[in-house]
């Protein structure tokens, strides 16, 4: 990981809404299609990558998010990039990219999480908010985000680092009116 300074946010906490920057966190993008790729990655991570669209699988502190039929994002606290890269990318079974510095993870907790998100997103959260471990890639305040519904009324929101300060300002501002 690069020695980067994450944008400084003024983290206001509101009634029923709590923001926290969950960094540094390792994020790895994996892509692959063939059977050997699934077998190998399952052995390394001790986890089955989610095949069902818009879902995630979890193994303690490791989470695998479905991004598209042949693409997943794994996020966790320990660095396993080298073992994944050596066993998958170097053997041409798939591709493994360290995207830790590309995405910033914002944890949002509270009863009004989905009211806040609905304020700036075209996505219909009515069903999503009842389904734990679901994932959605959508727009929030015109910014690309990946939302992982970790626990009920608790999400991990991934946003590109260059947009993170702007989005955080919007979240803080928007939360005042919920």
């Amino acid at each position: 990981m690069l020695k980067i300074n994450y944008p400084k946010f003024e983290l206001n906490n509101f009634e029923d809404l709590n923001f926290k920057i969950e960094e540094p966190k390792i994020k790895i993008n994996v892509r692959g299609k063939n059977k050997d790729f699934y077998t190998k990655i399952g052995k390394i991570l001790s986890i089955i990558l989610p095949i069902e669209p818009n879902t995630s699988t979890s193994n303690g502190n490791l989470n695998a998010l479905w991004l598209s039929p042949d693409e997943w994002m794994i996020y966790l606290n320990e660095n396993i990039f080298d073992s994944l890269f050596n066993e998958i990318s170097k053997l041409n079974l798939g591709s493994v990219t360290d995207v830790s510095d590309q995405w910033v993870c914002i944890n949002i907790k509270g009863n009004k999480v989905f009211d806040l998100l609905s304020n700036g997103s075209p996505f219909d959260f009515r069903e999503f908010k009842n389904n734990k471990n679901h994932v959605v890639q959508t727009l929030l305040n015109h910014i690309d985000v990946t939302i992982h519904h970790k626990e009920l009324n608790e999400i991990n929101l991934f946003v590109r680092r260059s947009f993170s300060e702007h989005l955080m300002l919007w979240l803080n501002d928007s939360a005042r009116f919920i």
Partner: protein, 92 residues
């Protein structure tokens, strides 16, 4: 505004997608043997149908996959969605 049923992610708002223009345009096998007019015909000329049109769309702000859509351009009603490589429905 309308809702598109992405074949991979499910129903999403149109603002998550980008249109890629007319679908099923076949690239000439020997471009060097074409005249300038024939090449321009392939490259630039597109149908602008009032009615049912076959189009390519990309789920830009979602799974980033391309797929085909059968859309009525007069009322934005989507009649069918199918993946790249699949044959278009015969009903239209």
């Amino acid at each position: 505004m309308f809702v598109i049923n992405c074949p991979y992610c499910g129903e999403r708002d149109q603002s998550e997608f980008n249109s890629g223009g007319e679908a099923h345009i076949i690239r000439p096998k020997q471009p060097t043997e074409l005249s300038d007019d024939e090449w321009a015909e392939f490259l630039f000329m597109r149908k602008n149908i009032k009615g049912i049109q076959f189009e390519r769309w990309n789920h830009t702000h979602g799974c980033r996959k391309w797929f085909n859509v059968v859309r009525d351009t007069t009322n934005d009603q989507i009649h069918a969605v199918y993946k790249m490589g699949e044959k278009p429905p015969k009903d239209y």
